[in-house]
Symmetry: C2
């Protein structure tokens, strides 16, 4: 593209600081690399598998939803039409279906009014952060490495984040406690903590039941709210599903962030947050936090697309609000892919070879991701070389650490590949790793 | 709803200050009053007319869009499926159709890459404000009275706004100049100004061509960007449509905010911003402002719903990207309604009566709204009384002034009523006004 030379240009330095923040650049860089090497096998993006989706399904889902309104709720045709046409309820129109699904699938029992339907889970994060973070000293604790969606949203709102290193068992409750106390001693106000308890993005780690219970205790003792993000919880490879933090929450400390992108349809852009906390005004008036989030949502997107909600609503109606059962095929797909990926890593890097190379990886019990520790800098330059010369893409882990770290780690996502692609992808990855390991010592 | 007494409550004072801001409360209050008096005739909300919309149309629009991809662009079935299913391009998938429509309807010629498709125009405002406002001293000038969507979004981001009183001819360029200079002298940085040039919400005023040209000159001389919001421009009652500021913009000073809520389908929640400004990094690298907005959008909603975009895309395909022509029926409807409203005001308040009452109103040449100056406080209490006793709803203008003002003004919206409803509504309004005017002097 060419530009007229007379137009005044804006200085990037003069725009909001988030635009020059590496967190915000990371996602764009990855998208751009993926686009530049369309023939590479990609372990990079956390894309959901497309399963049996067909475009024609959209019309069926819409009919399922409007049929539900007409037949189950007895709505008139005119009312249904207005419902889909007009600006609607700020907090969404499928909150009751979502509440029923959460009860069926997760044993989470909350009033439908506490469910805020959002334009994807990302908006849920934005609303939640905006509501809870009021003062300059308010700080969000994040388990690190951390999903860039939450740190990026915090950056947009100029909210301070503080990384808390996870352990092999995922987010570390005692480390959160220590961090909260230290921050408080330094005059900051630790306000909430963010965790992905199941098969975290990016590390694939999970919290066991004892860690979940301890985290809730720490949150209560340190007066922290818990932002629980659980997009991958259905996708168990080994063992059984564990209760979400929200299902264990007796004190309404947990805000449960949800997504239909992995379990239903990313293109609908529908997510939600359960915010059943009570809010008390100066005059003693009480409201639900969800109602406060509604005020913010009216200034971010006004409504979530009624059309998008109707499609997801139709899918929920079709499965009787039992989305976990409806995901049986997807669960098997992701579990099989992760097993294949682990098996191929083992086959390509038998013990003797990986000891020689200084290579290791973790073995997540579910989800989309695992992490490989490599004997070289897994940076953007290495990724380019891997894509160009070896035809395989992955994600540098360092993008997920806000204060440095992860320089010798890479994330592999196997969600949207076939078994054959995984086999070939690991073969290519092995060649790339071998070439790097044989490279100059300086590349380490 | 009952709450367990053991749950810790959050103090509203401890949440973000926007939640106790009257701007954010205003919209919610109005929605709530409308809901409480469902039988009242409502001149309150700026709801689009539903026209001939039927639920089944959604499936047709989806087919029109996918047909366009397959037949006009030659896409494979698989590619179309992925396009609708997956996470997609951050800045949207119907940007080319929107660019073509802007060229046809508005004579706005911009590269499709400069169009950012958003979750309604509200997200476009949020992204734009976030990108442009970087420092505490950065200030947004808004023509006052002002649409609460922009002042609310600024409040969410802790961005300072400065109201600039409009005149009878709408936003006042020289007043913007004076305000910018004063702010600069006081150490602030006036960064951009926000205007609705056509049939503004809430006042119904419009800028003539000379005012538009002068505004662009003032913006250039005072180094201000212009945020142009133009949801009502099609809906001309008298005279002819005027060029948008963006169509007149030779310097790329104007960011053009657009909505399909009034011209296509509110329930799709699709809007956009044209951001063809050039941005220069410290290293000399150049980008489009639209690309910078994309980084922010990836942290607010990631994508605009592909399903919502496909519905709007299908509508654009169906009308050959000539949305103004497709709106001929809507244009006639709104023009007719506004003429009826003006005629009924005249009929119910003939000159002698309105002189006695101290009543007057403006006569917008198009759009949804007009303003009545009344001889009593048009506040929330008056609105409640009007709804309860007289069965008619309107909007207090004072909600649209951020620094006081408009206490004796009310907004009437006639967009979603029938002619009969307008006739009956004005009759009720006249009884209400008469009762107030006859009331105690203290109510003035």
């Amino acid at each position: 593209m060419t530009y007229a030379t007379t137009a005044p240009a804006l200085a990037l330095d003069d725009l909001h600081a988030s635009l020059t923040d590496p967190v915000l650049d990371a996602m764009n860089f990855l998208n751009e690399v993926v686009a530049r090497f369309p023939d590479a096998l990609s372990f990079a993006p956390g894309r959901p598998a497309e399963g049996a989706f067909e475009v024609e399904d959209l019309a069926r889902h819409l009919r399922s939803y409007t049929g539900h309104l007409e037949r189950s709720l007895g709505w008139s045709r005119d009312r249904v039409r207005t419902h889909l046409f007009q600006y609607g309820r700020t907090n969404g129109i499928i909150h009751e279906l979502i509440a029923r699904t959460l009860a069926n699938d997760e044993g989470i029992h909350v009033p439908p009014e506490s469910v805020v339907v959002t334009t994807g889970c990302q908006e849920a994060m934005l609303l939640t952060l905006r509501a809870l973070f009021a003062r300059p000293e308010d700080t969000l604790l994040v388990s690190s490495p951390c999903y860039v969606g939450i740190t990026g949203a915090a950056r947009l709102l100029d909210i301070a984040t503080h990384p808390v290193p996870e352990g092999a068992g995922g987010p570390d409750p005692e480390a959160f406690r220590t961090a909260a106390r230290r921050l408080r001693a330094a005059g900051r106000r630790p306000r909430a903590l963010y965790v992905v308890p199941d098969f975290a993005n990016p590390s694939g780690t999970s919290m066991d039941l004892a860690a979940r219970e301890l985290l809730l205790r720490v949150a209560a003792e340190e007066d922290l709210l818990v932002l629980e993000d659980d997009p991958y919880g259905f996708f168990v490879r080994a063992g059984s599903a564990r209760p979400t933090l929200k299902a264990l929450d007796r004190e309404r400390r947990v805000l449960h962030l949800g997504s239909f992108a992995k379990t239903a349809l990313p293109g609908a852009r529908v997510g939600y947050v359960v915010a059943d906390q009570e809010v008390v005004g100066r005059d003693g008036r009480r409201s639900l936090l969800a109602d406060e989030l509604s005020k913010i949502k009216s200034m971010t997107t006004v409504n979530t697309s009624a059309v998008g909600q109707a499609v997801i609503g139709g899918m929920l109606v079709e499965c009787g609000c039992r989305l976990r059962e409806a995901n049986a095929g997807a669960i098997a797909h992701y579990a099989g892919n992760l097993a294949t990926l682990l098996g191929e890593l083992e086959r390509n890097f038998p013990e003797e070879r990986r000891r020689r190379l200084g290579l290791s990886w973790n073995e997540p019990t579910g989800g989309y991701f695992l992490v490989v520790d490599v004997p070289f800098a897994a940076d953007h330059a290495a990724l380019e070389e891997s894509a160009r010369t070896f035809g395989v893409l992955w994600t540098p882990m360092s993008d997920f650490y806000t204060d440095g770290g992860g320089e010798h780690r890479l994330r592999l996502s196997c969600s949207a590949l076939t078994a054959d692609q995984i086999v070939e992808g690991v073969r290519r990855l092995a060649r790339f790793v071998e070439s790097r390991a044989a490279g100059p010592a300086g590349s380490r």
